[in-house]
């Protein structure tokens, strides 16, 4: 090689090494790496998918990880049958558009079997989701379930590993988690045990919205501002639905709102908003003073440790 060629090579290297990649690219690559580790090391994994914004991001990441092939796992939804119809429609459409297998198991199945006993139809069903989830894991023999939970959502989640071990009862032991070094993940379990995997652990609500914008992801309409009938109860507003009707004396208001999370209809409150585009949501997200769950999930506020307790029992 001539002297000039050598210098050219060096200059080229110099330019290359100053290449920077955006923080969304870094997060995306980390998530893809995690999903591929699951595919390669777990015998029978599944991707938990609800039709909400985080799981829609998870699907795009799975496409990035595995296309042009099909996903090496099915999508699984644990349906409380307390979901917003727009979300269920979006769930079905996305699975069909992607041509991927969707398994739906409903709390109603567990209720029929008697493993769940519901006392009050108008109460949130999230606490029971773990039962149906564990039954579904047993039915299909899944050894790993990927979920779209993020550490910035809640203080117990903030403590959880990316590969989170669950014993044969589906329980999480927060005081005795496996060490997790670099990104060399220990995926090993014995029969009957399970790993929950959270590929978007390190994403924030803002990252999710920026990614939805960048990738032009289609999300359920209820994430954007719309007029909705609401009832004010305590500090929060509840959407009127077939499950929640005004009690005598309660007034129905119509407000312009959007949902920051979409969970159980009886306990997911919207926030007042005029944001009709992803950019406008990003704008609102950057100035909000309230966390995603604080604003919207009444079930997390019943006690200081409700998420930790639910997770210990097998919740995502």
């Amino acid at each position: 090689m001539s002297e000039t060629e050598n210098i050219m090579k060096l200059v080229e290297k110099e330019i290359m090494s100053t290449h920077t990649i955006s923080h969304l690219d870094v997060l995306e690559s980390e998530s893809i790496h995690i999903m591929r580790e699951v595919a390669a090391e777990c015998k029978n994994p599944a991707l938990l998918f609800s039709g909400g914004k985080d799981s829609i991001v998870m699907l795009r990441l799975a496409e990035k990880a595995f296309r042009p092939a099909k996903f090496p796992f099915p999508l699984v939804h644990i349906d409380t049958e307390h979901n917003f119809p727009e979300v269920i429609a979006c769930r079905d459409k996305l699975a069909a558009d992607l041509g991927e297998r969707l398994i739906v198991r409903s709390l109603e199945d567990s209720i029929r079997r008697g493993s769940i006993v519901i006392k009050d139809e108008s109460k949130p069903r999230n606490p029971f989701q773990s039962v149906t989830l564990l039954e579904t894991i047993a039915e299909f023999g899944f050894d790993a379930c990927m979920g779209g939970a993020r550490r910035d959502e809640e203080k117990a989640r903030a403590k959880e590993r990316i590969f989170s071990f669950r014993d044969e009862f589906g329980q999480w032991d927060p005081k005795n988690q496996r060490p997790e070094l670099w990104d060399t993940y220990n995926t090993r379990v014995h029969n009957g045990e399970n790993i929950r995997v959270f590929p978007i652990s390190n994403w924030t609500e803002m990252d999710i919205w920026e990614y939805i914008g960048r990738e032009k992801l289609h999300i359920p309409e209820i994430y954007f501002a719309h007029k909705r009938e609401l009832i004010r109860r305590g500090n929060s507003v509840i959407p009127v639905s077939h499950l929640v009707q005004p009690k005598p004396g309660e007034k129905v208001e119509v407000l312009s709102v959007r949902f920051r999370t979409v969970g159980d209809m009886t306990c997911t409150a919207p926030v007042e908003s005029t944001a009709r585009t992803v950019d406008e949501i990003i704008e609102e997200t950057s100035i909000t003073r309230i966390t995603e769950r604080g604003a919207t999930r009444m079930d997390d506020q019943t006690s200081d440790a409700s998420m930790e307790l639910r997770k210990k029992e097998g919740y995502f």
């Binding site: 090494s17 955006s22 980390e30 580790e37 988690q177 060490p179 670099w182 220990n186 966390t291």
Partner: protein
């Protein structure tokens, strides 16, 4: 909104009760990164626990057991952003019993804030965490001399502690250390300077975190690509497609570049760099991509593609520094599993050269390793591994050890 905001991952470390969690809580509060509902939740809890002021450690000490005992048990991850940068914080426990959780957080950090209680000075656990930080190769260290309010903001005390710490750090060859006096409780020198330490001219903590230059990738020239997964769509359109999926751990690659497959040593050329967003001409660490090759050669998960001047070593025996993380001691008569990049193989510990006393840095001979021991060991693996030294490349120089009987991760290893 800028898409090129850099990401800084940092952790706190140091001895029990030196104020790590309080520091993080206060930093988030003073940089306006706490949300109203979080603040009101921790205010209510503080009040219920009979505290006069808001206890900011509750922001990261989120587990019931942690709140009961007033200590941190496992790492809490927190996320915040300033206009300059995005941050991922890991607040680690100071208790010796939970050292493995500190190591967990340290393994992915770019910077560590080591706290010292100004009254107590440098303690064994300060030394242990500093040693671990240097072992896992965290490039930047901040020594935060905390609780300055309890020593009357004494410059002399601060200087004394810095000198003692820097002397210890020098023994480890650590040079990139910034010392800051602060009070996590009062908020001095975290975000604002406060009025109590006019004698200190240096940077505040936040200012340092926002401006410190970080290198993501130590090794930018030698391409390292462990194969994670082989993509065989077997559809009509992609009938003959065979893509090697993975993440570029170091260096870069372009279409047409020659690669060597390790450990077999066979070579080929990159035909395409495939991604969901289209084909690329060139890709860089830490991108996750799919490579196709010009030649059909036998490749499986666990193999590594490399190119560039320095080739990894391929061997079945090597020396490494090991942190033993399990309550069950190392048993030299047993076989373990080592997971190195995407390859998992059976291994044996053929010898323990020495154990390091973290207090004095002296080397002692030992027959076994107990929890939290750090030692130099000789390892024999059943299949050859392709590796670099940890100091050259974190990704290809690190491994974990798994106990096959319990499936627990029992050690972290760094190849010498």
């Amino acid at each position: 909104m800028s898409n090129t905001t850099q990401l800084l991952r940092f952790i706190t470390a140091g001895s029990v009760d030196d104020g790590k969690s309080t520091l993080i809580g206060r930093l988030l509060h003073d940089s306006k990164s706490i949300f109203e509902d979080q603040l009101s939740a921790i205010s209510i809890t503080s009040e219920r626990r009979g505290m006069a002021a808001v206890d900011f450690s509750l922001l990261t000490d989120g587990l019931q057991a942690e709140r009961e005992q007033g200590i941190t048990i496992d790492v809490a991850y927190r996320y915040f952003a300033t206009p300059k940068r995005k941050f991922i914080i890991g607040d680690t426990p100071g208790h010796e019993q939970y050292t493995r959780n500190m190591v967990t957080a340290a393994s992915t950090a770019n910077l560590v804030v080591i706290l010292v209680d100004a009254r107590k000075g440098v303690l064994v656990q300060t030394r242990r965490h500093t040693y671990l930080a240097s072992l896992v190769g965290i490039p930047h260290i901040v020594l935060a001399v905390n609780k300055m309010d309890m020593v009357d903001y004494s410059e002399a005390r601060y200087t004394e502690i810095c000198a003692e710490y820097l002397a210890f750090a020098a023994q480890l060859g650590l040079t990139d250390i910034t010392c800051i006096p602060l009070s996590a409780l009062a908020g001095d020198m975290l975000v604002a300077r406060g009025n109590n330490m006019e004698w200190y001219q240096g940077t505040t903590l936040l200012n340092l975190l926002e401006n410190i230059v970080i290198d993501y990738d130590v090794n930018t020239t030698d391409f390292r690509y462990p194969v994670q997964w082989i993509c065989r769509p077997q559809t009509e359109e992609y009938h003959d497609f065979r893509g090697y999926m993975g993440r570029i751990e170091a260096g870069e690659i372009a279409v047409g570049d020659e690669i060597t497959v390790l450990p077999s040593g066979r070579t080929s050329k990159v035909k395409e760099i495939v991604t969901y967003d289209g084909k690329l001409q060139r890709a860089y660490a830490p991108q996750s991509v799919t490579l196709t090759l010009e030649d059909e050669i036998d490749i499986s998960r666990g193999d590594m593609f490399v190119n560039g001047g320095a080739k990894p070593k391929v061997a079945k025996e090597f020396a490494a520094m090991l942190c033993w993380l399990s309550e069950t001691p190392l048993d030299k008569n047993r076989k373990y599993l080592v997971k190195h990049t995407t390859r998992t193989a059976k291994c044996l510990f053929s010898g323990i050269d020495y154990r390091v006393d973290v207090n004095t840095l002296e080397q002692h001979s030992t027959a076994t390793l107990n929890m939290n021991d750090i030692a130099r060991v000789a390892i024999k693996v059943q299949q050859p591994l392709a590796f670099d030294s940890y100091t050259t490349d974190r990704a290809t120089g690190s491994f974990i050890v798994i106990d096959e009987a319990t499936n627990n991760t029992v050690a972290a290893g760094m190849i010498a």
